[in-house]
């Protein structure tokens, strides 16, 4: 089906996934309201199911998008395999959230329909954020994604940490989005438009590159994105927010939100400013190095596993920034591939942390992992797989992903950056292995640890994540092509704009 943006109605088709998801969100809202009214009792167990249904429906719609073809590329919403790919990722992350959060939500008395509504809406925001082609819409998408997450972070109102984390996250988020917005303004001033395609065109025609507006604008945009993906030095909110937030939300933030931020980051910088790679490659490189090294070093001394994983997610942002710095199709493909692996292993590890932490998130220190693997082999094994994958060890997706990124970077000739990546991941070995050695090498603490039990959904989520990681490690071929398509879809765009 051909899409021609001259008529606004066409956007109905282009944004079908978003629309489906929003509709479901509102349905859930209504269901919840009518079922609960004003009484303080947990929502019905139907809500999560409904959410998953919504996600699946959106996924189907997303799949259907592949059939669409656009004329020209000036529309506000991109219509390419890249968007579809990333959409799937967000939806999957959402599904994982629902699967792992179930028991936790009961224990913390958080079973509220709004929670799921917010998750769905924030996924809508991500889709817009990563899928749009107009800076203004991207900004709104950013807010659309962030505001629900602010709320989710602070949703556990009994917990001081939760509120504090939320407030910090919110204030700094608004702060950075102000920069982001100013960046848009400057770009607007410099290029006379906020449509990435047109910007790229303007850059290619060389009318704007002379001025300083675009470079400064790029820098400000990078600040905004850097904040969302938690790149050093814009990362300082991350450990606090991650620690404060309820663990499932943390997992959601660490995977979906970060993924969306990166997806948009790449889209904007590769398609919009692809012509000015020379201007922003240094930004990417500097951020990448600072992020990889800084985060890994700090994680070395982190005794709180939740925080440790927060730093580790920052470090991984650094690796992804290397893919951005590569700035080529390979880089984009490596980025997409790594994003999938990253989502799997991060969700998985946070899920395990959630199980171990127990009611009220009391057991977050390394000590509570002593002998875990022998008490609960399943958890031990899957956690080990996640850790190995995070550390980038062969036979796990993490390794292939890192190699892919290395490949992209070396293809661009960034040898030193590659070496930095390697050394950084070497640092990371230490703290990942440390968890492993607590789990395997130590004797269990002899205290009344309530036997850890897993809900079926959670178990499945873990099995799924593990299987995915191993599969991607052993036979990455299954995903490589998809990633390659996504990347080419993205890059073709910037190419076609030139012809425009």
């Amino acid at each position: 089906m051909q899409i021609d943006y001259t008529s606004q109605a066409q956007y109905f088709w282009v944004m079908l996934p978003e629309i489906v998801l929003s509709v479901f969100a509102m349905i859930i809202l209504l269901v919840d309201v009518f079922q609960r009214g004003d009484r303080e009792e947990p929502s019905s167990p139907m809500i999560p199911v409904l959410t998953v249904v919504g996600l699946v429906a959106a996924a189907i719609a997303n799949w259907w998008l592949l059939g669409l073809h656009e004329t020209g590329t000036a529309g506000m919403m991109a219509l390419d395999s890249y968007r579809v790919f990333s959409n799937f990722l967000f939806l999957a992350a959402g599904a994982f959230f629902v699967m792992i959060s179930n028991r936790y939500i009961d224990e913390e008395h958080l079973r509220l329909g709004e929670l799921y509504v917010l998750v769905l809406f924030s996924i809508v925001g991500m889709m817009v954020f990563a899928g749009s082609r107009d800076l203004m819409v991207i900004f709104i998408g950013l807010e659309l994604m962030s505001v629900p997450v602010y709320v989710l972070t602070g949703i556990n109102r009994r917990s001081m940490q939760s509120a504090e984390g939320a407030l910090k996250y919110f204030l700094l988020g608004a702060f950075s989005s102000a920069f982001f917005l100013f960046g848009i303004a400057l770009i607007y001033g410099g290029a006379g438009t906020t449509n990435l395609a047109l910007i790229a065109g303007a850059i290619d025609t060389g009318t704007t590159t002379a001025g300083r507006l675009i470079p400064v604008g790029i820098a400000f945009l990078a600040v905004g994105f850097g904040f969302k993906v938690a790149a050093v030095p814009f990362h300082m909110w991350t450990p606090d927010a991650y620690e404060g937030a309820p663990i499932p939300v943390t997992a959601f933030m660490a995977t979906a939100v970060k993924a969306a931020g990166f997806a948009a980051f790449l889209r904007v910088f590769l398609t919009g400013f692809g012509g000015m790679y020379g201007t922003w490659d240094t930004i990417a490189i500097v951020l990448a190095i600072m992020t990889m090294v800084g985060a890994n070093l700090t994680a070395l001394v982190e005794g709180n596993v939740k925080r440790m994983l927060a730093f580790s997610s920052i470090a991984h942002a650094g690796y992804l920034l290397v893919a951005l710095a590569a700035g080529n199709t390979l880089g984009a493909a490596a980025f997409l591939f790594y994003l999938v692996v990253y989502t799997l292993m991060t969700v998985g590890s946070f899920a395990v942390v959630m199980v171990v932490a127990g009611r009220g998130e009391r057991r977050l220190d390394l000590g509570s992992y002593s002998g875990l693997a022998w008490q609960h082999p399943f958890l031990g094994v899957v956690m080990t797989v996640f850790l190995l994958s995070l550390a980038g060890f062969p036979l796990t997706g993490g390794f292939i992903g890192k190699v892919f990124i290395l490949r992209a970077a070396l293809d661009r000739g960034l040898v030193l950056l590659s070496v930095a990546l390697v050394l950084a991941s070497l640092l990371s070995y230490y703290y990942y292995l440390r968890v492993a050695w607590y789990m395997w090498f130590r004797e269990p603490e002899v205290d009344g640890r309530t036997p850890l039990t897993l809900t079926p959904a959670l178990k499945w989520a873990l099995v799924l994540a593990t299987a995915g990681i191993v599969a991607l490690g052993v036979l990455p071929g299954i995903l490589l092509d998809a990633a390659q398509d996504g990347a080419t879809g993205l890059m073709q765009e910037s190419a076609t704009t030139v012809s425009r």
């Binding site: 700094l172 702060f175 950075s176 606090d240 922003w280 930004i283 070093l297 001394v301 982190e302």
Partner: protein, 675 residues
């Protein structure tokens, strides 16, 4: 070309190996097994001796000019290097084989009696057989590496046998010391082999010796280096200065072992090596001077120590070192026959001496054991007047003493005199100054030998007995199984010398009637001929007159006279002297003390080498390994953790800090894009 085929050559070596296995299994089943070892132990060696004898007789018939080489399998075929597991049968090796198996079987027999009560009886014979096996490999091996197998194999066996009574720390230490010191020599042997290979591209005797004269320039640096390294090996094995220190301690082993390994066979391997490589050694005058010099020095030096020792075996040990020195003078000055000759005769009388001493110790030990006394059974000060208790031992040992002192007509006279004379007569050309000195040293050493041997005899058998009143009646002659070997060896010590009577003897006034046959010389000619040619062609003919004039005969007579004189004198003097038993006798004083403590050489080595090395090792471990290297490794870890700590402290939890960081980042990025 030669009408002789060796019979069962392999069996000579394999039989003892078989014995080792059988005895080993016997020992494994029951350590105190008696019957099997008693039969197998001596049996296999005797069999080997018989086979060797057959071959020997066969060789006498055939006129052999080249060695017979029997290849069994390819051992190390690597690139241009090809080493076979092959035996080489020639005049020299068969001679050695005869000595080893012959004396070996005698000593095995002797051991049957000597080790009768020992709990490790079977193990003992297993070791002994293994030793014979390796010794045979050493002498039969057709290439240096194969020889090296035997070379280290015998070292191993001596290690095991010295430490046979391993419960006693001193004995175990002695074994260890022997092995390590020998290893120093082996290092030389290895390097020499490498050099030979890199020069000639082969390591088997035939090729090497054939190529040597052309491959090396006479007196060249390479051949000198090679031979010197070989000699280092020889010095280690044959206990020459500076590596002799292990041999005296080696007396810790059972006495028959001392007789077999540390007197008759193993220690002479060095001499064999030099004789075997005569072609190489002849090519390097420097080496010859060194070898002979070391020999002379050792002969003299060891003799001086032997003068004052009270432990009967110690005396014999130093005398062995001294006699080995003689042999090296012989092979050093280029008269390989003389060296081998003395090797043979020495094997006879020194084995005899040791076994005699063994017999004495045996009965002394019994005496003390019977009376629960803890006095030292080996200390001559506790002996004296034993001749009335053990006649055969007494007589046979006197024979040996006369032989070693070089009294005509005993074996030692011919061989030792030959060496002394050769030193004199070959002092020509470049050697002139050196060999004269060695000759003098040899003469002095000869006198000392005569002295300390007589002293030994007097202290042991003559004078009145100092063993102790109630011990006395327990003293008795050794059993037949031990005395028979004594008598056989005594016979050999008498006649052994007659196989190589120098022609010069004719010129003597009194002894002119003696049939002179330089049989050994001619027998070994196929082996040493090459060396002789090289020497004659490069150094010139040997001189007919010794220093200060005088022909060989004259000097022979002179040395005989001197030896006899010394013996008589010593006997007369010491007869009157009354010794005190060990615990009552005073500490030696003055120079005697220095000699008694062996010139403090062990102490010097300990202070100069052993302790520093240990200290250095400890230092390296603690400082370098754990300090520097590991420190660096761990340091990296600590450093990164420190950085991480700093990073984590930046997470102050204060929003302003975070906002500040963001602002900083903004400036950073602005700087990147604007500058």
């Amino acid at each position: 070309m030669h009408g002789f085929e060796p019979t069962l050559l392999w069996a000579i070596a394999v039989l003892p190996l078989l014995g080792f296995l059988i005895n080993g299994i016997a020992a494994y089943r029951s350590p105190t097994a008696k019957i099997i070892p008693t039969i197998v132990g001596p049996g296999v060696v005797a069999l080997a001796f018989i086979i060797a004898l057959i071959n020997f007789l066969g060789m006498r018939g055939a006129e052999l000019h080249e060695p017979i080489i029997q290849t069994y399998w390819q051992w190390m075929p690597v690139g241009s290097l090809s080493i076979n597991a092959a035996f080489q049968l020639d005049q020299l090796s068969i001679l050695m084989v005869l000595i080893i198996t012959g004396i070996g079987s005698l000593i095995h027999l002797f051991s049957v009696g000597y080790m009768q009560e020992d709990p490790g009886y079977a193990r003992y014979f297993a070791y002994l057989n293994l030793f014979v096996f390796f010794m045979l490999i050493l002498v039969l091996g057709s290439s240096y590496p194969l020889m090296f197998v035997g070379w280290e194999g015998v070292g191993l066996c001596s290690y095991l046998l010295i430490g046979f009574w391993f419960k006693d720390k001193e004995k175990a230490d002695a074994g260890k010391k022997a092995f390590i010191v020998n290893r120093i020599g082996d290092f030389g042997f290895l390097v020499a082999m490498f050099m030979v290979f890199s020069r000639i591209g082969a390591l088997d005797f035939a090729t090497v010796f054939a190529a040597a004269p052309t491959a090396f320039v006479y007196g060249g640096a390479v051949v000198t280096a090679i031979t010197l390294f070989f000699f280092l090996g020889a010095a280690g094995k044959s206990a020459q200065i500076p590596l002799y220190i292990w041999l005296p301690d080696a007396m810790a082993g059972p006495t028959p072992v001392s007789a077999l390994i540390h007197a008759a066979t193993m220690v002479t391997a060095g001499v064999y090596l030099v004789a075997r490589s005569s072609v190489l050694f002849a090519l390097s005058p420097t080496t010859m001077i060194v070898v002979a010099g070391i020999g002379a020095l050792t002969a003299l030096f060891a003799a001086t120590i032997g003068l004052v020792q009270n432990d009967i075996k110690k005396v014999l040990a130093y005398s062995t070192v001294s006699q080995l020195g003689y042999m090296f003078i012989g092979v050093g000055v280029g008269s390989y026959t003389a060296g081998v000759f003395h090797l043979m005769t020495h094997a006879f009388f020194k084995a005899l001496l040791f076994m005699g001493a063994g017999a004495v110790i045996h009965s002394m030990h019994h005496a003390y054991h019977a009376t629960r006394s803890h006095a030292d059974a080996q200390d001559m000060r506790n002996m004296g007047g034993l001749k009335k208790h053990m006649k055969i031992t007494w007589i046979t040992m006197w024979i040996a003493t006369l032989a070693i002192s070089g009294v005509w007509p005993f074996a030692g006279f011919f061989s030792k005199d030959e060496i002394i004379w050769q030193a004199a007569s070959r002092a020509v050309g470049p050697f002139a100054p050196w060999f004269r000195v060695y000759w003098v040293m040899a003469l002095i050493a000869a006198m000392l030998t005569a002295f300390y041997m007589t002293r030994l005899m007097i202290m042991t058998f003559h004078g009145e007995n100092r063993t102790g009143a109630k011990e006395r009646e327990h003293l008795h002659e050794a059993p037949l199984v031990m005395t028979v070997p004594l008598m056989v060896l005594a016979f050999l010590s008498v006649v052994g010398g007659w196989i190589n009577v120098p022609h010069a003897i004719k010129s003597l006034p009194v002894l002119g009637w003696i049939p002179s046959s330089e049989w050994l010389h001619e027998w070994l000619h196929p082996v040493t001929g090459g060396a002789d040619e090289i020497l004659t062609s490069n150094v010139g003919a040997v001189s007919e007159v010794g220093p200060f004039g005088g022909h060989e005969g004259f000097w022979a007579l002179a040395s005989f006279a001197i030896a006899t004189l010394v013996i008589v004198a010593t006997a007369v003097i010491l007869k009157k002297r009354a010794y005190a038993a060990a615990e009552k006798s005073p500490e030696p004083r003055g120079f005697a003390k220095v000699l008694y403590n062996k010139w403090y050489v062990d102490e010097i080595y300990d202070a100069a080498i052993v302790r520093p090395l240990m200290g250095l090792s400890r230092g390296l471990w603690r400082v370098v390994d754990q300090g520097l290297i590991d420190g660096a490794v761990n340091g990296v870890g600590y450093a990164s953790r420190a950085f991480g700590w700093v990073g984590s402290r930046m997470q102050t939890g204060q929003l302003n800090t975070y906002a500040f960081a963001v602002a900083f980042g903004v400036l950073l990025l602005l700087a990147v894009v604007l500058i």
